[in-house]
């Protein structure tokens, strides 16, 4: 590799370490950083020790059977993404500094692969902990996952470069063909699996498919990686399968280098698109569709000024819905498939959906950006509005509350025919979704205004950021638990006082939760009032 690129890679690695521990200069930053490191170590450390001390026989057969197909699916997704992206993505700084520098295209590609290595190894370390139940030797598992991750990176790169060697017509045609082929293959595999194995379970169906001729052929290219992860001995297993996996990676690397396509122009466009997407996410508009504006909301009632504020957020939400819907449909489907697959088909207990639903709601509420979190760069404008802070606060939080509620009800509606639960439980859950979301969004906005941070960091992640996330999550959970406990206690009291009336208990609990949510509005308003634009706006 060119010495300049080696230098840059070294400088960036050092800068990455520096970034990880930034914030140590202030007491708060140091405490958050310490917490981040402590949580990281307490999570990773015992897991690795357990791996070393584990006496449980790893389930290698199950892994060898399932992993190749799963990896094949991920490879197809990577390929499709690269086809859609149509170019190798670089950071904008790399574009500005490297594309006009005296460096060859191959040197740039090698650099790109090299700077991705630390992240790749970190990823392998992360997943090797999860793979401990299947890998007899942790180090073999780590190595196999690292080789598999490199394979995926090279596949993406090779597809992007190949797509540039074919003409526009052939590109469009091949992209459509690849998409159709992938969807057909996925539908076939899932159809086979869902038709059930011998005992009517999803995984048994998958296993049957894997053992079929088609399944064996499809999984062949990814099989060596599974064998490395589950290798029981250094020789012959690791040496033979490891050489094969490494050979596949090297062959892909050779293909990438051999192509030597003039990819700079395409990379320039892709990198700019990625950069703009990141900037939109930083501004809290990650889901807003680019291009011509569409969809509007009629004026809402004044409501002390909360109406116009809510309208702005609703318009933003309307323009985010197409992209957010894709996310919701994909994740929602995965959740349902996961719930069905992990239990005896064709139904599953409704409760299995609660935890993923809560996680998804947290992610969606955070990324939709239809509240204060998406208006960080507009705080000045919000502050000068001749409105009471309470009206601004109410207007800001109402949109995500309604959106999240609609999404959760939609998912519960879709899950209802498959869920093994009584209509009463389903109805009760549906009933409480609205006040629960109001408490959740109120708490999130309050915490955000008190400890403001950008939803998407413009720089490398740091332990301080990680620690902050832990504190925020902890406080949020405490607030939710306290609210739930108060509402539950009130409901229980009503149940006792009404001599066993469930309707009275639910009504009182609902009203209590709604009351807590209403009480959070003045808190959010107070936090908004004390927000100092000059000092509290994060960079």
């Amino acid at each position: 590799m060119h010495p300049g690129l080696v230098k840059l890679a070294r400088l960036r690695f050092r800068a990455g370490l520096r970034q990880s521990f930034r914030g140590l200069k202030t007491v708060r930053g140091a405490l958050l950083c310490l917490l981040g490191v402590a949580v990281f170590i307490t999570w990773l450390g015992p897991s690795l020790v357990m791996v070393a001390l584990a006496r449980v026989e790893p389930d290698t057969e199950r892994f060898r059977s399932g992993f190749p197909l799963a990896m094949l699916g991920i490879t197809l997704l990577y390929g499709l993404q690269a086809l859609a992206q149509k170019g190798v993505s670089f950071s904008v700084a790399e574009v500005d500094f490297l594309f006009s520098a005296p460096l060859t295209r191959r040197q740039l590609l090698l650099y790109k692969i090299a700077v991705g290595m630390p992240g790749l190894l970190l990823l392998a370390l992360f997943f090797s902990v999860f793979a401990r139940g299947y890998a007899p030797w942790w180090i073999f598992g780590f190595l196999g996952i690292a080789l598999a991750a490199l394979f995926l990176q090279l596949v993406g790169m090779a597809v992007a470069l190949v797509s540039q060697t074919v003409g526009e017509y052939a590109y469009t045609w091949s992209r459509r063909a690849a998409l159709a082929l992938t969807l057909t293959a996925v539908a076939l595999v899932l159809g086979w699996a869902f038709s059930g194995g011998a005992d009517g379970r999803f995984f048994a169906g998958m296993e049957e498919f894997r053992q079929s001729l088609l399944g064996r052929c499809l999984a062949a290219p990814t099989e060596p990686f599974a064998r490395v992860i589950t290798a029981r001995s250094f020789f012959p297993e690791l040496v033979v399968w490891g050489s094969l996996a490494l050979g596949i990676d090297l062959a892909l690397l050779a293909l990438v280098m051999k192509l030597d396509v003039n990819y700079l122009e395409a990379s320039l466009a892709v990198s700019q698109r990625v950069y703009e997407r990141l900037q939109r996410a930083r501004r809290g508009s990650a889901w807003v569709s680019s291009g011509k504006a569409w969809g509007s909301i009629p004026p809402l009632p004044w409501l002390g000024g909360a109406g116009p504020i809510a309208r702005i957020q609703l318009i933003k939400a309307a323009r985010s819905i197409p992209n957010a819907l894709v996310f919701i449909v994909v994740v929602g489907t995965l959740m349902l498939v996961g719930a069905v697959a992990s239990s005896r088909m064709p139904s599953f207990p409704l409760e299995t959906l609660f935890a993923p639903l809560l996680m998804l709601s947290l992610v969606l509420g955070r990324t939709l950006g239809c509240d204060f979190r998406g208006h960080l760069d507009h705080m000045e404008a919000l502050k000068v509005l001749p409105l009471r802070p309470a009206a601004v606060a109410a207007g800001q939080v109402v949109t995500p509350i309604l959106l999240l509620t609609a999404f959760q009800l939609l998912l519960l509606g879709a899950a209802a025919p498959l869920a093994e639960s009584s209509a009463t439980l389903l109805g009760a859950v549906a009933l409480f979704v609205l006040p629960f979301n109001a408490v959740l969004l109120g708490a999130e906005n309050f915490l955000f205004l008190v400890f403001p941070v950008r939803m998407v960091s413009g720089t490398a992640a740091s332990f301080q950021h990680f620690g902050r996330g832990i504190v925020e999550m902890f406080l949020k959970m405490v607030l939710l638990l306290v609210a739930a406990a108060i509402a539950g206690a009130a409901g229980l009291a009503a149940f006792v006082l009404s001599v066993g009336s469930w309707i009275a208990a639910l009504a009182v609990a609902w009203l209590t939760l709604a009351g807590i949510a209403a009480l959070l509005i003045p808190c959010v308003a107070w936090a908004f009032r004390r927000f100092d634009v000059s000092t509290d706006t994060p960079g």
Binding site: H2, P3, G4, L5, V6, K7, L8, L11, R12, A15, G16, R18, Q19, S91, V92, A93, E94, V95, D96, F97, L98, F99, S100, A101, P102, L103, T104, E168, N262, L264, E265, L268, Y275, G458, T459, A460, G539
Partner: protein, 244 residues
């Protein structure tokens, strides 16, 4: 030093630049002006070897930018409009990297001089993410000058600079040209072009409207014998002949 012959760039049906030819010799400063979408940035990127031409040839110091990109690029420096730095690197680390990329031996003394020249001495250990817009611009220019390029391409070089920074930038451009570099400045600031450029290239919708010395442009677009300002030259040049 910079030769562009019959340069065409098309994106599907859109013609970004059509049949553009010009030359910039050592010591000359070319002002590249035109309305938005005229093809200025496309031209600079093509000369910098970032985007390939659809047709035509582009050369730097006698090297073909497409056929011999490394040799051509080692002679030039390109500073884009709104240059983006590596956020987590310091100003000095940027200079270190550029020195290694362009194989500048013993770069420290040169780098120190540039930091002084652009008032960045106090910022050498500052991370790029903490620099103001103007400081980032200065850091990018300092990096560009480090290997003493023979061809310099600057896209809107004055954006974000304070009055002192603007003066420093203009002086540095003039000094580089005096030392024999060929400079191309793309800018909407006609006052900058008028102050520092020796030659003018007016582009409109990808086509060359005028190319020549600035004084000749004034005579070419003069009306009733009075020598027009560069602003008048520009508007007369891009207006259709019937004035509609």
């Amino acid at each position: 030093m910079i030769q562009v012959r019959d340069f065409h760039k098309t994106y599907r049906e859109t013609v970004a630049v059509a049949g553009l030819s010009f030359e910039v010799g050592p010591g000359e400063i070319l002002g590249l002006v035109g309305p938005n979408g005229a093809g200025k940035t496309t031209t600079l990127r093509a000369v910098a070897g970032i985007i390939p031409p659809t047709r035509g040839t582009l050369g730097v110091g006698g090297y073909d930018v497409v056929a011999q990109p490394v040799a051509a690029k080692s002679l030039l420096a390109y500073v884009p409009d709104d240059p983006r730095l590596f956020e987590s690197l310091t100003v000095w680390e940027h200079l270190e990297f550029v020195a290694a990329a362009y194989r500048v031996g013993d770069f420290a003394a040169k780098a120190e001089t540039l930091l002084r020249q652009f008032e960045l001495e106090g910022k050498r250990a500052t991370l790029a993410q903490e620099l103001s817009r103007g400081m980032r611009q200065k850091a990018a220019i300092a990096c560009a000058y480090l290997h003493d390029p023979r061809a310099i391409l600057l896209d809107e070089p004055l954006t974000g600079l304070d009055p002192q920074g603007i003066r420093t930038m203009k002086d540095s451009i003039l000094r580089r040209a005096r030392d024999g570099a060929a400079v191309v400045i793309s800018s909407h600031l006609l006052a900058l072009v008028e102050d520092v450029c020796t030659h003018l290239l007016i582009l409109d919708r990808g086509k060359r409207i005028y190319f020549g010395r600035i004084e000749e442009a004034r005579s070419a677009f003069a009306q009733a014998g009075a020598s027009p300002s560069l602003e008048e030259v520009f508007f007369r040049a891009i207006q259709p002949p019937n004035g509609s």
